[in-house]
């Protein structure tokens, strides 16, 4: 009886182990499938950026290039116009992110911790800018900036990008401030802290992860935009996305090798920012999502 119970028990353990390893294998297989699906386009970009011009469209396609060239990367760094577009991208995306975080933090705090007439209406009014198709707003902004003499300047790009990023930044930060207990603020007040001290010395250090994730969101929006940067920036202040299209996609031809190499270079700053600030981004997004 004991032996048969032991046998049954060991059989159950073996079956359990088998089931667990099958589950594990299925899980790993699933992860590999998702990873291939997610990373194959990036791999294809990479090999296209390294494949000599006359082999890019070889048929049947080659998944491993037989020859490698770095000419497209050299072309990018040897092209002053592209480097200028790169600099413009940093200036515009960085300024957009800074202004969005700066305004968003005060607006988010106000919406979260104060009660005043018109608060809810104002909160939804801010969101209303997101409800219009961006192409419609582009025409309006173009004519407005033309009147104000702001076209073809950094200001045109920073102001327009901020007008799109700010609503979501305000709501993201409001969500984060909502998670902070009011008692914290009350305690600071009891200790004689002014509003200035409360927000700058107590709350901002606490909401740092949310500020970083909000900064990244606004930075990426400014970094990736195409149509606004093309229309409002003009040749002098154009950022990389329209700059790359202008340089490499023509009426008859597209320089795919150049375009892929440049796109990889362009995506690097954002990837690096993500890697460096991953911890804060996850903390910022998940905390803001708890209560909103």
């Amino acid at each position: 009886m004991t032996t048969s119970t032991q046998q049954l028990s060991s059989l159950t353990m073996v079956t359990g182990k088998r089931e667990r390893s099958t589950e594990r294998l299925l899980l790993i297989g699933g992860f590999i499938l998702v990873a291939v699906f997610a990373f194959f386009p990036i791999y294809w970009m990479l090999i296209t950026s390294l494949t000599p011009r006359d082999q890019i469209f070889a048929f049947p396609p080659r998944f491993v290039p037989t020859a490698i060239t770095f000419e497209y990367y050299a072309d990018f760094f040897g092209n002053p116009a592209l480097l200028k577009y790169l600099l413009n991208s940093f200036i515009v995306a960085g300024s957009t992110a800074l202004s969005s975080v700066l305004i968003g933090v005060y607006a988010g705090y106000s919406f979260s911790k104060f009660r005043y007439t018109g608060r809810r209406a104002l909160m939804f009014l801010i969101l209303s800018a997101q409800m219009f198709p961006q192409t419609l707003l582009l025409i309006t902004l173009y004519l407005l900036f033309a009147r104000l003499g702001l076209l073809n300047s950094y200001w045109a790009l920073i102001l327009s990008f901020t007008s799109f990023t700010l609503p979501l930044c305000v709501w993201m930060l409001k969500g984060y401030f909502d998670t902070l207990p009011d008692e914290l603020i009350e305690a600071a007040k009891v200790d004689g802290a002014s509003q200035f001290t409360i927000i700058h010395r107590i709350l901002i250090p606490i909401v740092r992860p949310a500020l970083i994730s909000t900064f990244l969101f606004a930075f990426i929006r400014g970094w990736n935009d195409f149509i606004y940067a093309l229309t409002l920036g003009g040749p002098e202040y154009m950022t990389l996305p329209p700059g790359l299209v202008l340089t490499y996609i023509g009426e008859f031809q597209t320089s795919w090798g150049n375009l892929m190499a440049s796109s990889l270079i362009v995506s690097l700053p954002v990837v690096l920012l993500y890697i460096l600030m991953q911890r804060f981004i996850v903390a910022g997004l998940s905390s803001g999502a708890v209560k909103g």
Partner: protein, 412 residues
Amino acid sequence: MRRSLVLVVVLVGVLMLSISAITAQEPQEITFTGWSINEGLSRDVILGFANTYAEANSITITPVAFPFNEYLNQVILQANGGQLSGAVQLDVAWMAPMAALGVLRDLGAVVPEGVYTDAALQSCQVGGVQYGLPWTTASIGMVANQELLAAAGITELPTTIEAFEAALEALEAYNPDVIPYAAMTDVAQLKDIIPWIYTFGGSVIAEDGTVSLGDEGSVAAVEWYASLLERDLIAADIDRFDARQLFAQGLVGFYDDAILARSLAAGNKPADLELTVVPVPHPVLNEGDAPQSLLWGHCVGVVDDAAGDAAADFALYLTGTPEVGISYFEQLSLPPTTVEALASDVVSGDTYVSTWSNEVTAFASPNPFWGYAESARMESLLGEAVQSVFLGDATAADALAAAAEEIADLLN
């Protein structure tokens, strides 16, 4: 003393007024907006011409570029915002919407007698008004891969629909991986059906300006086009970009493109592939019919503002100087528009170009939609109708009748 002072003040005033008047009449800076001025090889060539002109005339030419695919929208927005000035590169297909904006100058008065060919001049006119000067004029014609045709046993280029179908079937039999005719089947470029509609005796817009799409010829053309798809003689979802790349890989027998097809194939083909590109006039229904194709080309328009005179002079230099036209052709393979440049040994001695000019462009007609500001939407309606036939959602007669109705609404 007082009288002298007054005299000096008056003289200074007159001098300042004169200077400002001269400045207003002859601006020292003009803008040249285009898409070719920032594309690969053409950038250096065109900026070279602009610099030569600028130095010779002591003016500054500021280039402004937008990508081709976004160009028309950007230029329209600039024009509406009062930001467009100077000379503007325009595709012949965009002349009507640009003319409708009312910002382009009528250049009829500056066109010298006998310099440009009549066909070229007409390609930049809207309603008989010369809104642009022709920079390059050709047509969307058919090209073939001679090596592939020879390998499939096709010794003569087909001139009739019957011979064309036989050639396509021979290519299909030779290698099923080859697309015998990489005709445009992507909805965005199905306007390529128009020359086939003409080939079958149909029309799109009648001479009296009414929509004639859906007539016997146009229905026959669409049915024929769809039958090619059913027989795998053309492939689904092919656009010009796909066709160019596949042609350059030796996987396409025939396809339709601008005259640059030869240089595009040379630039894209693998080093070890022999590829001789020959122009093929569109096959006709009956021997003796005229081969059909659509005009294609670029114009240079001039914005009607204070810089208009200087910009018009630059546009005239760029498009109407035979040496510039010949140099443009030599470096970029784009055919010139002046009688003298076309007659030059460089241009007329090129068999590919002369065949294209004499046997394809000579019979080309403008896209029937170009004359209307809503031309892009009209082309889309036609494309969607043909696609619905491909998908089996409608018969050719029904699909074209429905499209004709919507196009008629746009005309009204």
